[in-house]
């Protein structure tokens, strides 16, 4: 347990410093004048001018050297202060709270839905003949080959336009989350069902599984007692990898469905060069990534007695 926890704590601190520093360097290295970008986001395209940029530069003290700005950020961070948005002047923490709440909700609902899709599909592919498996491969490849926003558009066309069951975009009621979550879940399940399938085939053909059947256990009981845990292990481990893909998909989905999440917010903050928001969002996503991966490790540790033995 300690062997998992302490390295991860060190990793977490490194991620906080590394991500913050890297985003700072990358944002500073981008071509173009930051003051103009911020002014465009603050005042809109009809009202952005060199006067507005000068005002922004003066107000935010953008002329200070990069080192001074970096160390003042680091000092603030050590005090737990993420600063304020350069565009809206709102505290970064408040903005992130609003965005993160929405993103976490969307991510967890999508993940849950993806399990409900991937596990039955994977088991079907593993348990039944080649034709069923090939059919599922075609389905998975088709979904995965499509950009996630195309999957979203198809769902909108079917559920919102054709049947008029669900809203096209927006947030604020439980109905609004169904389509974005379903779109994301399908793209996640397109890969994870293959992991379930492979893990299931491996388990079904393992000697201990055959032995359980030979000794007279029913197929249901064999699956529950000797199959589930073995199949769960690679699937849970894959979950950690899938979180990266999820961040990629969430930006597009949030934009398509007008969902005010962190992925979409981060993309807009980059356009606006809103460095404190970018640093805060990247930092939070980095922390989340480490925390979730630690959780995945802990679950694997609980699932796999061999790992406990080594620990």
């Amino acid at each position: 347990m300690k062997k998992i926890f302490f390295p991860r704590l060190f990793q977490l601190l490194s991620v906080i410093w590394g991500v913050g520093t890297l985003t700072f360097i990358l944002m500073r290295a981008l071509p173009g004048d930051m003051a103009y970008r911020i002014a465009a986001s603050r005042y809109g395209q009809d009202n952005v001018s060199s006067d507005a940029a000068d005002l922004v530069r003066q107000e935010l003290n953008l002329d200070q050297g990069a080192f001074v700005a970096y160390f003042s950020w680091l000092k603030e961070l050590l005090q737990g202060n993420l600063g304020s948005s350069l565009v809206s002047d709102e505290p970064v923490w408040q903005i992130l709270q609003h965005m993160l709440g929405h993103s976490l909700m969307l991510a967890s609902v999508s993940l849950l839905l993806s399990f409900f899709i991937a596990i039955p599909l994977g088991l079907l592919g593993a348990a039944f003949g080649k034709k069923v498996d090939q059919g599922i491969v075609v389905f998975s490849t088709t979904i995965r080959a499509m950009p996630v926003f195309v999957v979203g558009l198809i769902f909108i066309l079917v559920f919102s336009i054709h049947w008029n069951w669900l809203p096209v975009a927006g947030f604020g009621s439980p109905e609004h989350i169904v389509l974005p979550a379903l779109s994301l879940a399908f793209t996640l399940a397109a890969i994870s069902n293959r992991v379930v399938r492979n893990a299931a085939i491996k388990a079904f053909h393992a000697p201990f599984y055959r032995f359980a059947q030979i000794k007279g256990l029913s197929s249901g009981r064999t699956f529950l007692r000797h199959g589930t845990r073995h199949i769960a292990l690679p699937v849970v481990a894959f979950l950690g990898i899938q979180l990266v893909g999820m961040i990629e998909g969430i930006v597009m989905i949030e934009s398509l469905f007008s969902w005010p999440g962190i992925g979409h917010g981060l993309a807009h903050a980059i356009f606006a060069r809103d460095i404190p928001v970018i640093q805060g969002a990247a930092l939070l996503m980095g922390i989340l990534f480490v925390v979730l991966n630690t959780l995945v490790d802990l679950v694997c540790y609980r699932l796999d007695p061999r790992a406990r033995g080594k620990a």
Binding site: G32, D33, Y36, R37, A39, A40, S41, R42, Y43, G44, Q45, D46, N47, V48, S49, S50, D51, A52, A53, L55, S85, V87, S88, D89, E90, Q97, H98, G101, H102, L104, M105, F149, L153, I156, L157, S160, I161, N164, P167, V168, A169, G170, F171, G172, S173, P174, E175, S255, L256, F257, S258, P260, H264, G265, H268, F271
Partner: protein, 560 residues
């Protein structure tokens, strides 16, 4: 049961913050559906159903009681609007356009569709003979959304704060703003400034309750005087406003209106198609034929004082001769762009402003026959000749230009690529760079800009003189002429700020328009048309070409 509802509400509120509808609409319906399903399962499995029936009744009663006391937005009582622009601040100097459009904020003066000043919070205004003092008589019976009456001090505070921020008022030659009495305000100027009335109609100069501001002039809460008050503020995506019963003018009949930012044009179109949004602004031209096939949606095309314009660096070696700029203008097939790219037949133009702005529009401009041939001749007269690659060349250097444009208005990139193809026909090689709108003023200031394609809003201040002055005045401007100056234009624009005689104003504006047309420091391409999809349940939609208001209080829902 109420506890159950509240638990549900609070659990979800943690995640959705304050963007969740309160008990009374979605929640009870959602839970009632759930309970109904549970009830079915319970009876199916033979358990007693009385408990579930009672539960259902209690939920419905609680919900009805809460809803009756405190109406909440539902799809039946809310006008749902979808548009492309985000908002991040309550400050009128930054995002004031969204609050005047949603009719939360109002200004001292308004404008009609022709750009004439009309009374809004001020009923009368007088300019002194020397043009140095403007007096405004405030409307009686106006109250802020909190119930406080509007007085001269509130106006003085809002305008004084606006003066200290980036915006139109900061550029006005104002020496003093003070209250003459409880309902009279005077603005003193250092020099005559005919534009002041139009400047006061700009969203950044809206009047807020004095308590809305913090110590540094930042807006902490919003209380305006419009027919709608702020109900829900969830930046950058969602804004809900509620009808204000104490409004001084025509009261709103639709209880709520919501604005949802939709970043993707296809998503907004689908919202119009499905009926989720009642009004969708900024419909992309390619989707119009599809939307027109649906009987529940009407598409409105409205002309705006916004023009798609090419800004040229007149100091750039290949553009510093007026004949080169004229040739580039002649090589553009504006009709083709208007019809095929923008699907707005008739929107092509060679001038900055449409005929409705008669002072600034030249009535007798004719497009020459065989413009491409003429363009080629003009370029040949400047020493340009085609090389073996079909690119113009002079002194061994090819005629190459880089154009920058921005993504906020998706049609700009398609127009840019159409111009790229049309200029290629006369041998001009154009590289198109997609950037942010700020790249244009930045490129102007550091001198790196060669050509830029933009959608310039000449109605930003309802009198076009405001934008013309900043774009073509002595120093040139971020969004106007670059390395181009004409003394007669400087002189006439300066005079227009103090002259009130209509005839003289017309002559001066015509002269400015004529010089710009001949010298081509910028090349107009098409006028802008706003395409709006409106659901058939909405009656009374009309569009403000100055984009100050959505006229929500003129709209009603009709039974279908």
């Amino acid at each position: 049961m109420h506890i159950l509802v509240m638990i549900y509400h609070n659990v979800f509120k943690i995640l959705l913050k304050d963007s969740l509808p309160a008990p009374g609409d979605v929640i009870p319906i959602f839970i009632v559906r759930m309970i109904n399903n549970a009830k079915f399962s319970a009876s199916f499995f033979g358990r007693p159903t009385r408990f579930f029936l009672l539960l259902n009744l209690l939920i419905t009663m609680t919900a009805s009681a809460v809803a009756a006391d405190n109406p909440k937005p539902t799809s039946q009582n809310t006008l749902s609007i979808s548009g492309p622009f985000e908002f991040t601040s309550l400050d009128p100097s930054k995002n004031g356009y969204i609050y005047t459009r949603m009719q939360v904020l109002e200004t001292l003066l308004g404008v009609d569709n022709q750009g004439h000043l009309i009374p809004e919070l001020a009923t009368q205004w007088q300019v002194s003979d020397d043009g140095l003092a403007w007096r405004f008589k405030l409307r009686k019976g106006v109250v802020f959304h909190g119930g406080q009456p509007l007085d001269a001090n509130a106006v003085v505070k809002s305008l004084s704060i606006a003066m200290g921020k980036h915006g139109t008022l900061a550029k006005a030659p104002i020496s003093n703003i003070h209250a003459l009495s409880e309902d009279e305000v005077e603005i003193q100027l250092t020099r005559p400034y005919t534009l002041l009335g139009a400047v006061l109609a700009n969203y950044a100069n809206s009047i807020l309750l004095p308590d809305s501001y913090g110590k540094k002039g930042n807006v902490l809460a919003m209380s305006g005087t419009g027919p709608y008050e702020l109900f829900q503020y969830a930046p950058p995506h969602k804004l809900v406003v509620k009808q204000f019963a104490g409004y001084w003018g025509k009261k709103a009949s639709i209880p709520f209106a919501s604005y949802l930012t939709g970043h993707r044009a296809e998503s907004r179109v689908l919202q119009a198609r499905s009926g989720q949004a009642d009004i969708v602004f900024g419909v992309d031209p390619a989707s119009i034929p599809m939307l027109q096939r649906f009987p529940n949606v009407s598409v409105f095309d409205d002309a705006l004082p916004r023009t798609i314009v090419l800004k040229l660096n007149s100091g750039y070696p290949s553009l510093n001769d007026v004949r080169a700029r004229q040739a580039l203008s002649l090589a553009i097939n504006r009709r083709g762009i208007a019809n095929a790219v923008l699907r707005s037949p008739g929107s092509q133009t060679e001038q900055l402003l449409p005929a409705s702005f008669a002072d600034w529009h030249l009535p007798n401009v004719k497009v020459p026959e065989q413009p491409v041939v003429k363009a080629q001749k003009l370029l040949a007269s400047l020493g340009w000749h085609l090389n073996q690659d079909g690119v113009l060349e002079r002194d061994g250097k090819p005629f190459e230009l880089t154009l920058i444009t921005y993504a906020d208005r998706p049609e700009l990139i398609t127009v840019a690529t159409a111009i790229q193809a049309q200029w290629a026909k006369i041998g001009v090689k154009l590289k198109v760079n997609m950037s942010n709108s700020s790249a244009i003023p930045a490129g102007h200031q550091d001198g790196s800009l060669q050509v830029a394609l933009m959608a310039r809003n000449y109605g930003f201040v309802p009198d076009p003189l405001g934008v013309m002055l900043s774009d073509y005045g002595r120093t040139g401007s971020d969004w106007g002429a670059m390395n181009w100056n004409d003394e007669s234009v400087d002189r006439d624009l300066a005079t227009l700020q103090s002259v009130t005689d209509k005839k003289v104003r017309h002559q001066l504006a015509q002269h400015v328009a004529q010089v710009i047309y001949q010298d081509r420091p910028v090349i107009p391409v098409t006028f802008y048309k706003q395409h709006t999809a409106v659901n058939s349940r909405v009656k009374g939609f009309h569009f403000d070409p100055f984009e100050r208001t959505f006229y929500l209080n003129d709209m009603v829902f009709v039974a279908r």
